[in-house]
Symmetry: C2
Subunit: 157 residues, 2 copies
Amino acid sequence: MSNPSAATPQPLTPDEESLVRALGQVMHVLPRAIDADMVGDRQLPLTEYTALMNLSETPDRRMRMNELAALCHLSLSGMTRTIIRLETQGLVRRERCEEDARGSNAVLTDAGFARLQESWPSHLAAVRRRFLQHFEGFDLAQLARAFQRAGTAETTD
Amino acid sequence: MSNPSAATPQPLTPDEESLVRALGQVMHVLPRAIDADMVGDRQLPLTEYTALMNLSETPDRRMRMNELAALCHLSLSGMTRTIIRLETQGLVRRERCEEDARGSNAVLTDAGFARLQESWPSHLAAVRRRFLQHFEGFDLAQLARAFQRAGTAETTD
DNA sequence: AGCCGCTGCTTGATTGGTCAAGCAAATATC
DNA sequence: GATATTTGCTTGACCAATCAAGCAGCGGCT
């Protein structure tokens, strides 16, 4: 091991190590657990839920695909497919954009809104019970800021 | 909407809200970012890296499939496939288990160990830079415990 | 010994995502 | 105002994961 550029990085401290491992576990377990809670209770996979939720938060319940994709942390094509899935369930409709005819708006239908209303409480409960619950004594705002920093990916820099 | 158990949940506080959103972002961005760092530097996707790493930490560099799968947060079939991938690259070998002939051991080859040695520094650097870096003032041990609790999925309870 | 159910892993089918290529509308350039 | 470039989204091909079904070896029971 005499490669100079790769040489002698200090290993993680035990605390760092266990934090990293625990995060790995959480990243894996949490989405499934929340999904499972919702599916059990009121069928709606997390990705689709997120899409509906973001739509519902706009004033007129519609959004351009690219914007929605960004909010859902999805590629544009992933978003297209999610919307198609939702469309076949009648929860969303697509409309050609008026001021720019190559654009589409995903529009939350009444059925979609109703569906979201139904799912919302169980999603909320799942998030509390699976996640927030375990961070009771913490300074959530500070924690949120740290995660925001970590979640802002610099390309490679 | 008259299901009593789902009635009138309190919405999240703004801090809770932003923590949840930020975590969502991190869960999405971090693995890709780390993957990208490693791929760019020393090609080895995260899942495969994790498998090699876990193998390397055993005394004789071998482990039963089920145990390895658990450590990698992977289903047994997912593990089989990952090992197959690694096997075709010569980084791992499979041996039938001596004391129980239906079992397999995944065994880290010398090539695999060397590969891991090569990738290790860039993986470590990525973890530090992408994640740990942002938690400098924090009590990591306390944080780790909270994540451990959150990562321990009660089936539905 | 001989069957039966259990265990450990693999395999087939499906799912939900990615990237790359395609297409149509918009915009810039000449 | 025609042509070239860019933009917004969709589509095709692929990939890594999942679940469910399969199969081989193990072990208990009679």
